[in-house]
Amino acid sequence: MARLLLALMLLLGAPAWSAPCEVPAELMDGTTLPRSRAAIAAGELRILLGGSATAESGGPGTAYHARLAALLQQEHPGLRVVVEARGQRGASAAESLVLIMAALPGFRPHLVLWQTGTVEAVRSLEVDEFNETLSRGIARIRGSAAEVALIDQQFSRFLRANADIERYRDAMRLIAAAEGVALLRRYDWMYHWVETGGPDVERAPRPERAATLAQLNECLARAIALQLRHSTRP
C-alpha cells in the first residue's frame, strides 16, 4: 500500500519526498576534502561524476548528479554549484578514467567522484589491473589539482550471488585506504536501505520499478551530499 502511494505521488509529480534513506554515521568516510572545503568557501564548487551506466541513469531531473547539485545548492544558498556526469554503459575503471580525463581540462572540477568497480566484478576482470588503474587514475586526477573520492559498487543480491563482488570491494577499500582518498560506500548504503525498508530495486514489482529507481537516485544524492558535508566540515 505504501509503495502504491509512493508510485501515485510520483505519477502526480510530487516534489522530492522524504525518502527512508538515512545513512548511519558508521557508514560515512572519515577522510577530509580540504580542496572542496576551500572551493565552497570561495563561492564555486565544480564536481565531476564519472562512471558507468548509473552515472548517467534516471530520467530528466531524477538523475542523481542533478539531484546532488540541487541538494548542495539548497545547503549553500550563495554557492555556485555545477555537477557534471560522464558515464557510459558497461565502462570499466580504465574506460571511465578516459571519460574523466577527457573532461578535466575543460571543466576543471574541484572534486572528482569516481564511481566504479561493478563492471570489473561482473566481468571478472583482473583485480591487479583494477588496482593499478585506480592508483594510476587517482594520481592523474590529483595531478590536475582536483580532489578524488571513490564511489564503490552498487548493492545487488544478484551481483552478490553471481559475481565475486567482495574481492573488488576489498580492492577498492584497500586502494582508498592506501591512497588516502575518501571512499563513498554506496554498497553498504544501498544494503542498509534495503534492510530498513528503503528503495529496493530488485524486489520492486515491475509497475513500481521506475518510481523505486527514482527514489534510489534521490537517496544516493542525499547520501553523497551528506558525505560531502561530513568531509568538508571545518
Binding site: A178, R209, A210
Partner: protein, 386 residues
C-alpha cells in the same frame, strides 16, 4: 565419529585443513556474516593459502610414501588420477554455475538499474565459452581454486622424484616463482589477463608443504627448529600485517596517516601471483602453529576439533562439496539474508560438509576392510587421503 578418524598422523595439519575448508565455504558465500571472522580479515594470507600449503603437505606424505614403495611412475599415475577427478568435478561445477546464473537472472527479471550486470559470457558465445572452460581458460567467479589445484597436482606428478632432493626442489620452485613474478608470466585467461591464481607462482607454497610433509624412513624431514629469533621474526611480520588488515576494514584513515611506504606496500600485495608477504605470512603462521601446538595436544582429540579433523582428513571430497554447497548458500542468501537464513546456511553448510567427510571416511574404511589381506596396496590408504 572418533573411530573414523585416523589418529596415527599429524592431527594438527588435519584440523587446520578442516577449518580452511570451512572458511573456503564461508568466503565463497558473499553476504555471509561469518565472512567477517575468517582469517582473511586479520592476516595477509587467507584460507586459500592454508589449503594449498596443507594440500602440498598431505601430498608430500601420501604420494611420497607411495613413490618410495611403488616407484615414481605408479605414484605419478595415482596423482594424475586425482587430477582427472578434480577436472571432472570442475567441469561439473562449471555447469552448475552456468545454470545458477541463468536461474538467478530469470527470477530477477532484470531491472534497468542493473544494466551493467551482463554476467552472461556464456550466453554471448556459448560454444567458445565451453571450449575455454574445458581448457580451464574460462573461470567464472568462485571457480578459480579448482583449476589452480588441478595444475598444481599435475606439476607435482612430474616433479615427484625431486622430493628426494628437498633443497633442490625448493630451489627450483623458488627460482620459478621469482622468474614468474619478475617477468609477469601467467597462464592465459579467456576474459583477458591471466588466471586468478597463477599456478606457476602458487606452486612454491605447495612445494613448501610437500617437502615438509615428505618423511622417508631413516631421514629427518625438513624442519625449522624452534628459535626465539624466528619467533620474533614471525611476530614482526604478522602483527603489523594484521594491524594493517584490521585498519583497512575498520579505520582506513589511520592507514593513510601512516608515514613511510606502508600504504603503497599494502596496495601492491597481489593475490594472483602470491605476493611474498602472503607467502611469508602463511609460512610464519605454519611455523608458529607447528611449534606452539604440540602434536599431542589434548584438544585435537576433543569434541570441538573432531569434526574439523575428519573434514581435513577427507580433503578432496570435502573441498569439492564446499564449492558446490557455496552455490546453494549464495542462492539462499540471494533470496533472503536475514538472521534465520544466515543461521540455516551456515548450520546446514557445515553439517553437509561434515556428512560428506563422514560418509567418505566410512566408505574408505569399509573398502579397506572388505579387501582380502595381501591385495591392498600398503600405501593405498595414505594416498586416498591426499
Amino acid at each position: 565419529m572418533q573411530q573414523l578418524i585416523r589418529t596415527a598422523r599429524d592431527l594438527r595439519a588435519d584440523v587446520f585443513r578442516g577449518v580452511a575448508l570451512w572458511f573456503i565455504f564461508i568466503n565463497h558465500v558473499p553476504g555471509n556474516w561469518l565472512g567477517m571472522f575468517t582469517i582473511r580479515n586479520f592476516t595477509m594470507a587467507d584460507a586459500t593459502e592454508v589449503f594449498v600449503f596443507l594440500a602440498g603437505y598431505a601430498g608430500g606424505i601420501a604420494y611420497g610414501l607411495l613413490m618410495l614403495r611403488e616407484g615414481w611412475f605408479f605414484a605419478a599415475t595415482r596423482v594424475m588420477g586425482r587430477v582427472g577427478t578434480l577436472y571432472v568435478a570442475h567441469i561439473f561445477l562449471f555447469v552448475v554455475f552456468t545454470a545458477q546464473v541463468g536461474f538467478s537472472a530469470a527470477t530477477l527479471d532484470r531491472a534497468a538499474y542493473l544494466d551493467e550486470l551482463q554476467m552472461d559470457a556464456f550466453g554471448n558465445a556459448p560454444y567458445e565459452a565451453l571450449v575455454q572452460a574445458l581448457l580451464l581458460a574460462f573461470q567464472p567467479a568462485f571457480l578459480n581454486i579448482l583449476p589452480l589445484y588441478i595444475v598444481l597436482l599435475a606439476m607435482f606428478a612430474l616433479a615427484l622424484p625431486l622430493l628426494y632432493r628437498p633443497w633442490l626442489f625448493l630451489g627450483a620452485s623458488l627460482a620459478l616463482y621469482a622468474l614468474v613474478r619478475g617477468l609477469d608470466i601467467n597462464l592465459p585467461s579467456w576474459t583477458g589477463g591471466g588466471w586468478f591464481f597463477n599456478p606457476l607462482a602458487w606452486q612454491l607454497l605447495f612445494v613448501c608443504g610437500a617437502v615438509i610433509g615428505f618423511a622417508p624412513p631413516g631421514r629427518q624431514p625438513l624442519r625449522m627448529p624452534w628459535s626465539p629469533w624466528l619467533l620474533a621474526a614471525c611476530l614482526t611480520l604478522l602483527i603489523p600485517c594484521g594491524a594493517a588488515m584490521l585498519a583497512v576494514w575498520h579505520a582506513p584513515e589511520w592507514l593513510a596517516a601512516l608515514p613511510g611506504p606502508w600504504p603503497a606496500l599494502i596496495d601492491g600485495v597481489d593475490k594472483t601471483s602470491l605476493h611474498p608477504l602472503r607467502l611469508l605470512s602463511l609460512l610464519a603462521m605454519a611455523y608458529l602453529a607447528a611449534h606452539l601446538v604440540p602434536r599431542s595436544a589434548d584438544w585435537l582429540n576433543g569434541a570441538a576439533a573432531r569434526p574439523f579433523v575428519l573434514m581435513g582428513q577427507r580433503g578432496l571430497p570435502v573441498f569439492c562439496a564446499s564449492i558446490f554447497l557455496s552455490f546453494l548458500g549464495r542462492l539462499a542468501l540471494e533470496g533472503d539474508d536475514g538472521p534465520g537464513m544466515q543461521l540455516a546456511v551456515n548450520a546446514l553448510g557445515l553439517a553437509c560438509l561434515l556428512a560428506v567427510a563422514w560418509v567418505s571416511a566410512w566408505y574408505g574404511q569399509k573398502l579397506r576392510k572388505a579387501k582380502p589381506p595381501g591385495t591392498a596396496l600398503p600405501a593405498h590408504a595414505a594416498a586416498d587421503r591426499a
